[in-house]
């Protein structure tokens, strides 16, 4: 049996350990944030005390149009998430409430398409984009993002819908409700958390997607993930500029993530937590 005093000590020890590891894990991002406000000379000197400057940000905006890339990232991630939800929700609904022998196979097949290395499909997709004139265009990215997130979306929504008690659905159906009524008045209110969390995760995944945006875009449809690649080649001192560009690219989604983390976690368990 532990006395109140020793358990208070244990809590303090646990708090210190937790803070230590959290700061350790967060440190690289903190360092990135600090470096973004340094001059190039201070950046490689790893000085802790320095006079903050916005010089690197100004240079990033001058060298490449940050706002254009940010706009592309926003458009592609939001539209692909909405499109994905519209296609995935009916499928998840159908599989969760009208199970057949094939349901599990279909789910696993969908997930297995996600395991194919994207690089394997690169040449065909590139050729298709080229012949349809969609190379370096936002619609091409939106389509690719939607399709590559679709399996995860179907699975997350399926897990969320399966939590809805069957008797509620039967009651609604006895009242002669249509599919749409049933979805809107019974399922949607009960699974709003899971749906929101699915959307949030896919928004994050699309925002951070690097492979397709690196390979299918150049000057017009480039996203922030592609912008960063421009600052990756060492030419003279470049750490402060790289940090400033990186901070600009990740800040929107990190702040968004901080505010939505409680919501995000709800559905992230993929039905593993009962």
């Amino acid at each position: 049996m532990s006395t109140p005093n020793s358990s208070a000590n244990a809590t303090i020890a646990r708090a210190i350990a937790a803070w230590f590891f959290a700061l350790l894990i967060f440190f690289p991002l903190l360092w990135l944030g600090l470096t973004a406000f340094k001059s190039e000379e201070q950046a490689i000197a790893s000085e802790l005390i320095f006079k903050p400057t916005l010089g690197s940000f100004a240079e990033v905006q001058q060298r490449s149009d940050y706002l254009l890339y940010a706009k592309n990232s926003l458009i592609t991630s939001v539209i692909s998430t909405i499109l994905g939800l519209l296609i995935a929700a009916p499928a998840a609904y159908s599989m969760a409430f009208f199970r057949t022998k094939k349901t599990r196979d279909i789910l696993m097949w969908m997930l297995s398409t996600k395991m194919m290395p994207a690089v394997g499909a690169l040449v065909p997709v590139y050729v298709m984009a080229q012949t349809t004139g969609m190379l370096d265009s936002l619609p091409a990215l939106i389509i690719v993002f939607t399709l590559s997130n679709l399996p995860i979306m179907v699975w997350m929504l399926y897990s969320a819908f399966k939590e809805v008690p069957n008797d509620i659905l039967e009651a609604v159906r006895l009242d002669g409700a249509t599919v749409w009524d049933e979805f809107r008045h019974a399922i949607l209110p009960l699974t709003m958390g899971g749906i929101a969390s699915t959307g949030l995760l896919c928004l994050v995944l699309a925002w951070n997607e690097a492979f397709w945006s690196l390979n299918l875009t150049s000057a017009h449809a480039g996203t922030l993930a592609a912008l960063i690649a421009q600052y990756s080649s060492p030419e003279g001192l470049f750490w402060a500029k790289l940090s400033a560009a990186s901070l600009l690219a990740i800040a929107p989604i990190i702040v968004f993530g901080w505010f939505s983390q409680k919501q995000l976690v709800q559905g992230l368990t993929f039905g593993a937590v009962k």
């Binding site: 609904y93 194919m116 290395p117 690196l214 990190i254 009962k274």
Partner: protein
């Protein structure tokens, strides 16, 4: 509700995903059987299985298969082990719990290109990087990570990126752990290790399976992190299968051989998928 309604609702997702899978697959199979080099336009002769032979006998082939598996295995082991540890640490209330959680989860939102460049330059650079300074501070010789330990560097970078995800899922799972049962076990004289082994770990079983599955799906085809850090080198030391295919397609311009490699990767993905179905498929019911 008509009999066909469920199928109608399912159709759009199945049809689009099927097209997304089958069209590139058919084209890849076709490319893999012809001579197709971007540097030699116009020559698209039938070569049978020559591209496959070339890809499999490439001296980089077996190392990259092995490194794909090593990468996958180590990142999964590290993130699951540390993730469980951290989740247990932050599970009960303590001052600043909310902020600690926000800090822990942050790397999950960082895009792979930023993550990779941040580590490559500002952390792992032997002269100016933070790790180098720490090594020097303790009187040790700084490590040239990207040159001497390329695969380990990529593993560290990927683990940092995936740890928050694993941690989050375990935190959520721990919240549904039966506290009364834990207390009862404590009363009966079970120590912390016993409680962890017989109560906590079995409770986490399902979520560990899910973490392994999701990480496997994403880590099988890791690309951006290798592309922006080591470019698969030095030599082939940090090349995985996805990167080897990329090298064939866009650095040697040989689409035929790259397509043969892609088909090999598809087979590997399917083997992994069968393994996953055995492991976590039952969790879906």
């Amino acid at each position: 509700m008509s009999r066909f309604m469920p199928r109608v609702l399912l159709a759009p997702a199945v049809v689009t995903l099927f097209a997304w899978m089958i069209v590139p697959l058919v084209m890849t199979i076709y490319f893999s059987l012809i001579h197709y080099n971007l540097n030699q336009p116009g020559e698209h002769g039938w070569v049978g299985l020559e591209n496959f032979r070339y890809f499999i006998t490439d001296p980089d082939f077996w190392p990259s298969v092995l490194q794909t598996i090593e990468l996958l295995g180590w990142v999964i082991v590290i993130t699951v082990a540390l993730g469980v540890g951290l989740a247990l640490l932050v599970n009960d209330p303590f001052p600043g719990q909310g902020i600690v959680r926000v800090l822990l989860i942050s790397p999950f939102f960082v895009m792979p290109t930023v993550n990779a460049l941040l580590w490559k330059h500002m952390m792992m650079n032997p002269i100016y990087g933070v790790l180098g300074k720490v090594w020097t501070f303790f009187g040790a010789t700084p490590i040239d990570w990207m040159t001497d330990w390329p695969l380990l560097s990529v593993i560290i970078i990927l683990s940092w990126q995936w740890l928050p995800f694993a941690c989050l899922i375990f935190i959520t799972s721990l919240q549904s752990l039966d506290r009364e049962q834990m207390e009862a076990a404590g009363m009966d004289g079970a120590n912390a290790v016993h409680k962890f082994w017989y109560l906590t770990l079995p409770h986490l079983g399902r979520s560990i399976a899910v973490v392994i599955m999701i990480e496997m799906i994403f880590l099988m085809s890791v690309f951006a992190e290798i592309f922006t850090t080591t470019s698969g080198g030095p030599g082939n030391e940090s090349t995985n299968l996805a990167f080897l295919i990329y090298k064939q397609a866009l650095m040697s311009f040989d689409v035929g051989v790259a397509s043969a490699g892609a088909l090999f990767a598809v087979v590997l993905a399917n083997i992994a998928a069968v393994f996953l179905i055995r492991m976590v498929g039952k969790n879906l019911d």
